[in-house]
Structure formats: C-alpha cells, structure tokens
Amino acid sequence: MNIIVKDAETGNRITMQVDEDNTIEEVIEEVANYWKKDAGAYVIRYGKKILQANSSIKEANLQDNDVIELIPDPEGGSCYRKIF
C-alpha cells in the first residue's frame, strides 16, 4: 500500500510504498534520511494523533493513500550553549 508523508517544515510530500508490518519508526527514519533532515527528534502525526513509534502501519490503522505528517519534536527551551 502507499502512504503519503508530508514534511511539516517544508511542505514537501512523498509517496511511500509500505507493508502493513512496517513500523512507524521505520517510516520516520526513511523519510528523515530521504529529506536529509537535520539531526533532531521527529514524530509522525496522523490527524490529531501522534503515532507510536513501535506500532505497525496496520496497528496504526493507516489506509492506502492516507496522509501523515513528519513534525519536529521540540527539544529546546533553555539557553543553548554551542560546544564543539
């Protein structure tokens, strides 16, 4: 089946062919690599739900051509110090 993944930061979309037993975490990793996202934490939003990383496409109840969205999971909030 196909699912459409949208990048919340850029608006870009990609159609992915997935199996029912693929996990949400695999989808996150695949699209983050494909879009060469900056190192950072991301989650998948499906409507008003954040999908659990270890659940499968089937368990997440995703249907053919559903649109899901890759959104950043914020990590900041204090005052960052650059240390290299």
Partner: protein, 257 residues
C-alpha cells in the same frame, strides 16, 4: 466595609475573581522548576505572578549575553560576571514579591532522590532529552505531575504528565530521539548541551509555551480535570495549534507493570 479601589491593593485581586482560584492552595504548593533559561525565566515570572510562593530552581549554567533576548530577569552584568542562572533568577524573583526561592546550581541528574520527591509539581524547562527523560522517570515514579515545555524555533509543545493517568515523555519517543542523544555524546564526549547551530529561538514562542505550562500547573493545583492530558503542539510558522493524542506505550519502562 468595602471601599472603592480597595481591591487594587491586593496583587492577586484579579486572579481571585476566578471562582476556582484558591490563594492558600497556590502558595502552599512546592514547585520544582528545572531549567533557568528562556522557558525557565518566563515560567518563573508567571508562577510568581500567579501566586506561587515556594519555588526551587535547578540549573547548572551561567548567564551569557545571547540569553538576554529571551530572559527577562538576566542583565548584561550577569553575563559579564558569569553569574549562575539559578541564583540570579532566584534573586530577581524575590524582588517581585515576598517569596521563598531555593536553587541548586547543578544538573538535575545530580539532585538527590529524596529532594526530588518533595515537590507537588515539576516544570521542565530544559534543552536536552537526557535531562527530560531523567526528571520524567523520577516524577512518574513518585507520582508527581510533570509539565514539560520545549521549543524548536517557532514550534513548541507542552506535555502534561500526570501519573498514572497520562502517557509520559518516553511514550512518544523513537529512534530519532536516541540519535540526538548519541550525537550529543559523540560531539563532545561529555553530557552537556549540544546546540544545533542553525536553530533560532525567540521570546514569543518561549512566552507562549511557558505560559501554557504555568496555566496547566494552576489547573493541577486546583484539582481541575481539564488539564492537557496529551501534548499541546504549537506551530507559529503555520498558525497551527492543537492538542495531539499520544498513546501510552506499553513497552515504555515507566509504564511497565
């Protein structure tokens, strides 16, 4: 006898117009504020202005000049003198009203377990996943409400964790969170804050997120059930905000029975 203008002598007069607001309950709550940076400054301000009187701040860092665009309580001379954020924030909060502010200049991971469990509510205003997971786990274990705030440019979120009713932070994490933690270690060899060089940060998003955190603290303090039971997500780029559901992860170590 009621005199015109008499109520204006009370700092909390307008808050008391809320039927539910209980000054004694608010001022008796012990709040642990973890992180005295951008979110920490805003949250601290709102806590004090909301009537909280017992606040403990934890932060290991010192003030630098780039903090000043987001930290209302810090001054240029604090940065010049490399003063510790927790100490400066405690001092400046005490200038607003009579308040008891304690502080620890340390990582939250180093705070004694017996100290951590003394608090009624924990506010997380942190900048890294490790510290978040640490306080999330300890708060969950001791059944303390934990209100986590975070920003990423003009995006922010607030997650309210009320054990055992809600999911916790770890329930929503995945391999990308692990990679961020790995990168932090590999970049520096130390457990310190790692900065994504291109990520901006602004006071507006910070203020919104910190305000929601304190608003949720007030609800929990008053035993209200209308607190955010999942994640409040704000995206200022797209003018979008929503409460997103996040399921309890049965394999999350904090939820395993």
């Amino acid at each position: 006898m009621l005199r015109v203008g008499e109520s204006d002598k009370d700092m909390l007069a307008r808050l008391k117009l809320y039927e539910w607001y209980d000054e004694n309950r608010v001022k008796s709550q012990k709040i642990l504020l973890v992180g005295a940076g951008a979110l920490g400054n805003e949250a601290a301000k709102n806590l004090v202005l909301s009537g909280y009187k017992k606040i403990t701040i934890v932060d290991m860092d010192h003030v630098v000049h780039s903090n000043l665009s987001r930290c209302i309580f810090f001054r240029s001379e604090d940065a010049d003198k490399k003063r510790y954020k927790a100490k400066v924030l405690a001092e400046r909060l005490a200038e607003i009203t009579d308040i008891s502010v304690d502080y620890y200049i340390d990582k939250v991971q180093n705070i004694d377990e017996n100290v951590l469990k003394e608090y009624d509510i924990v506010l997380g205003c942190l900048d890294n996943i490790e510290a978040r997971l640490h306080i999330n786990a300890h708060a969950y274990y001791h059944r303390m409400p934990y209100i986590d705030g975070a920003t990423h440019g003009m995006i922010g979120k607030v997650q309210v964790v009320v054990p055992p009713k809600t999911p916790c932070l770890q329930c929503g994490m995945n391999i990308t969170h692990s990679k961020v933690m790995e990168k932090r270690f590999s970049c520096t060899g130390k457990d310190v804050s790692y900065f994504e060089p291109n990520m901006p940060s602004d006071i507006n998003t910070t203020s919104i997120i910190a305000a929601i955190q304190v608003q949720e603290a007030l609800k929990i303090t008053h035993g209200m059930e209308n607190y955010i039971k999942n994640v409040f997500y704000y995206d200022g780029n797209r003018n979008f905000s929503s409460v997103l559901q996040i399921p309890i992860n049965p394999s999350c170590p904090n939820h395993k029975k």
